[in-house]
Symmetry: C2
Subunit: 212 residues, 2 copies
Amino acid sequence: MNNTPKVPIPTLERLATYFRYLADLRSMAVETISSTEVEKQTGINAAQFRKDLSYFGEFGKPGVGYNIVDLQNRIAQILRIDRDQHVIVLGAGNLGSALAGYPGLREQGFNIVAVFDASEQKIGQSLFGLAVKDIARLREENNRLQARIAVIAVPASAAQGVADLAVASGVRALMNFAPTILKVPDKIVVRNVSFLQELAVLSYHLTADAQK
Amino acid sequence: MNNTPKVPIPTLERLATYFRYLADLRSMAVETISSTEVEKQTGINAAQFRKDLSYFGEFGKPGVGYNIVDLQNRIAQILRIDRDQHVIVLGAGNLGSALAGYPGLREQGFNIVAVFDASEQKIGQSLFGLAVKDIARLREENNRLQARIAVIAVPASAAQGVADLAVASGVRALMNFAPTILKVPDKIVVRNVSFLQELAVLSYHLTADAQK
C-alpha cells in the first residue's frame, strides 16, 4: 500500500527534474539549495517548486533553504525510486550501447542488468561489462532477472514486436526511443523519448534569431 | 515578424507530441484523425488536444476529424519548423552516432549537417555519410554551416566546455544529453534529455506492481 496521493504527470516530470538536479548537486558536495537557485538551474519557477513540494508536506526552512540529501530522499520516496529497479535494454546498437554505459543510473537505483539484441554478431559480446543476450530468450531470461522496466532502442520497424515480447516477459514500463507509436495494454506505462519532438520545441525558440 | 502568440512550454511539448504522432501517421498514409484517436495514441486527452488547437484558430470538422497533412503543416507553422534547420551533433560516441543516424529527422526539416569530436581516432571518420570534424574547429566550421541547434552528446565532464564553444560559434539552442546542468547565457535555450528523469517517471507507475 502507498500513502502518497496520485501525482499528475507534469508534477512527476518536475519532481524527476528536481531529483536529477539534486543528484548533480550532491555529486558536487553541495549541501543546501534555495528555491531561487532551483529556478535558475532548472528553469522551473521558484513558486512552482515550492508548490510542488508543499503538496507532499513541509520541506525546507525559511532563510536556510533545502537540505539536498533530505530533499532528494523525500523526492525519491514520492517517485518510489527509493529501492533498486532492474532495467533491461532492448537493442545493442549505438543507442542501446549509449544507454548501457550511461553514467550515474546505478547510483540512483536504476540497475541495467542486461542488454538484448537479435543480431548474431552482437549476441555474446560485452557492453560495459554486460553480455549481450539473445532477444529470442527474453522471456526466460527475464523470469530470472525480474526487470519491470525496459528501454526500447531498436529500429522503428522492430519496435512493436520487441514491445510485445517485453510485455509478455513481465515488463510493466517502457521507455521508447523508436520513432513509432507503440500499442500496449492499458496497464503498461510508456514514455516516448523523441529527438524529433525535442528538436521541435527547441526550434520554436529560434525564430526571432532566424528571422533577422 | 511572427503573428503566433507566445506558446507556453507545456503546450509546445504537446504540440511537438502531436507533430511527431502526425508524422508517423503520415508515413502510414493515414488521411484523417479524430481527437479520440489522438488521445488513445498519445495519452493526451481529447479535450486538451482540441483546446490546444483552438488556441491557434479553427481546425477539423465535426464528425470528419482532422486532415493529417493540414494539421501537421499548421503545427509545423506554429512550432516554426516549416523551414529547414541545420543541426550539429557534438560528440561522436555511441549516443552521437545514434543521433547522426536517427531516421526521419531530415524529412521533418531537421538536417544534421555535421558531427564534431575531439578524439583523433574519430576525426575524419564517416558517420552515416557525415565526416566527423575536429571540435577545435567548431567556430570556423559553423561560420559556414550556420547551425543554430546543437546536440550535446559528450561526457558530463566535457559538456560545459562544449556548450560554451557552441554558444561562441553561433548556436542558439542546445539539446543536452550529458547528465549535468549547463550554464548558458539567458538568450540560449536548453532542453535537457535525461534518461534518469525518464526512468524516474516510469518508476513511479510501477509500485503497485512491485508491491505485490
